[in-house]
Symmetry: C2
Subunit: 324 residues, 2 copies
């Protein structure tokens, strides 16, 4: 098995070779801009690794894998319009750098481009690949809609939150792993196990994201700590805090949630301390470990070689114990 | 050959059978709302007619044809956000009835649903059908971007305008006709001729749309006459007027274009009279006839029966001489 960086390089080369028509400039420039922002390229890397681990040729899955990365970046582009986010990976978001109309239309074009790349699977695998991709896309829109709905509701349950992040984030990792397996002509049981592995990895990954916003190291996290706390974002931590808090802590939490003028230097450490008093750091760690274990169990059930399993296990552990 | 209404009924039955998940409500309700607004269903009807006229079975093309109608309505939904349009087919647009975020996300879901329906072509035809659909979608986004660009430019040429409406409107009619031909296993020459027929029909159709806004019969047009004139919309007529107008008429036109307070009862008849003095009604009629003739010529080149050709010829003439 090759290393993550080997796969990443293959993906980044393919992404650099995407050709964008020069005109109309306002349609294609934002797509090129978005794809040049970089990132972990986790979804296409998972697709390539999964294909190779199950005996396939990564060349066969490369363009569909690029399609998944185009799709993922399209969702970020439109989500940033809906969430009025100004910055993405240290740069202005498309709707800030251009405007809302440019972001809407170039996002639409990016979704169709993603489908074009996914559809470059060979004819024999095309029906299964297109079906998987479109079903996953619908789930991701559902997740984004639940996310927006939940921001307006005060009584979101932990189970609802987990189902929301499963749809919004995790299914695309499951889809990437299954895509690789399909292109390797893997048996149905392997395809399903790879999907389960990717999906559980995705859940652990997202919970780790919630935790890093609170306990991440500012030096390596890449963005300011406490963004979710400042925005009262309904994360795994806040939802659990609301359900568990009592007495003086309940009053304090309510005060922080209802104070739009709160200063970052005071609110972030105070809410973090409150989360720690409630034992949420340990709770979060246990949940991450449980999804981690489920991902590793699904991995163990596949027919891939021990060497390939070891590569995936290392990746799962590094992603869900990551610091940035 | 069956009549337009026969095909329309088949399409409307299939559209009524689209199943939308109940939840999340804000994601799926706007899609059902949009599809229930009705319309001519021109694109799927063309796909069914084309398939049958070339010896195919309309059952094979029905779901992909519904996909084209979903796609068309998705573009209207997102265009209405970008154009800040309040009303569509006599009802509030999605972004007005709900909000911008709902319109963006339910539009995205509608595009993926459209792709799901298009991808229900049988396996043998799937690669060609998906490729045609995605390429057409990219052209339509380009057309919408040019349309928005041109609204900010004072010197748009007639050729640029024709190319814009070709991309924004006409290629989808060409795509619908070609889709029907592909599903009928028609020869490449027939597929291409059907595309050319649909595209030229689309150009004539759009120029007729521009003309109806000025010279339509308020009793049958379905919306208020003069909307384009009030919005200074760069139609075939206004672009030609700007290029041809001289002397006092030039001063008058400039005054109307720069008077945001102009009253409808005065501006619309005045600009209409100006268009007539410039001979634009005859110019528009000649252009429509030319695209009509090109559509009929492409039709004549196909291998379909004389009876089928007669059905298409009647449709082309009725659509491009329509009053509403």
């Amino acid at each position: 098995m090759r290393t993550y960086n080997d796969y990443l390089q293959t993906i980044n080369t393919a992404i650099a070779q995407i050709s964008y028509p020069a005109q109309p400039q306002q349609l294609y420039e934002p797509i090129a801009y978005t794809m040049a922002l970089g990132g972990k390229r986790l979804r296409p890397v998972l697709a390539l690794m999964s294909c190779e681990a199950l005996g396939g040729n990564t060349d066969d899955v490369l363009l569909p894998a690029v399609g998944l990365e185009l799709f993922h970046n399209f969702t970020l582009l439109h989500d940033d319009v809906m969430d009025r986010a100004d910055v993405r990976r240290g740069k202005p978001t498309v709707h800030r750098r251009w405007n809302d109309n440019v972001a809407i239309l170039s996002g639409d074009a990016m979704l169709t481009m993603a489908t074009q790349y996914v559809a470059r699977a060979d004819t024999r695998h095309l029906p299964a690949v297109i079906d998987l991709f479109n079903r996953t896309a619908m789930e991701i829109y559902e997740g984004q809609q639940w996310d927006m709905d939940y921001e307006l509701r005060s009584n979101v349950g932990v189970d609802e939150y987990i189902e929301m992040i499963r749809l919004k984030t995790s299914v695309l990792l499951g889809c990437a792993c299954r895509l690789g397996a399909i292109m390797a002509d893997a048996a149905d049981a392997d395809c399903q196990a790879m999907y389960d592995m990717g999906m559980n990895l995705g859940l652990a990954f997202q919970l780790q994201d919630d935790a890093l916003d609170v306990w991440g190291d500012p030096a390596t996290f890449g963005k300011e700590i406490g963004g979710d706390i400042m925005n009262n974002k309904k994360t795994f931590l806040l939802i659990n805090a609301i359900q568990r808090v009592t007495g003086d802590d309940a009053m304090e939490l309510r005060r922080w949630l209802n104070d739009p003028e709160a200063e970052r230097d005071i609110k972030v450490p105070a809410v973090t301390a409150l989360y720690e008093r409630l034992g949420l750091r340990a709770l979060s760690d246990r949940a991450i470990e449980a999804y981690n274990a489920a991902a590793l169990k699904a991995l163990a059930a596949t027919s891939m070689s021990d060497e390939a399993k070891q590569s995936f296990a290392s990746l799962i552990i590094s992603l869900t114990t990551r610091k940035s």
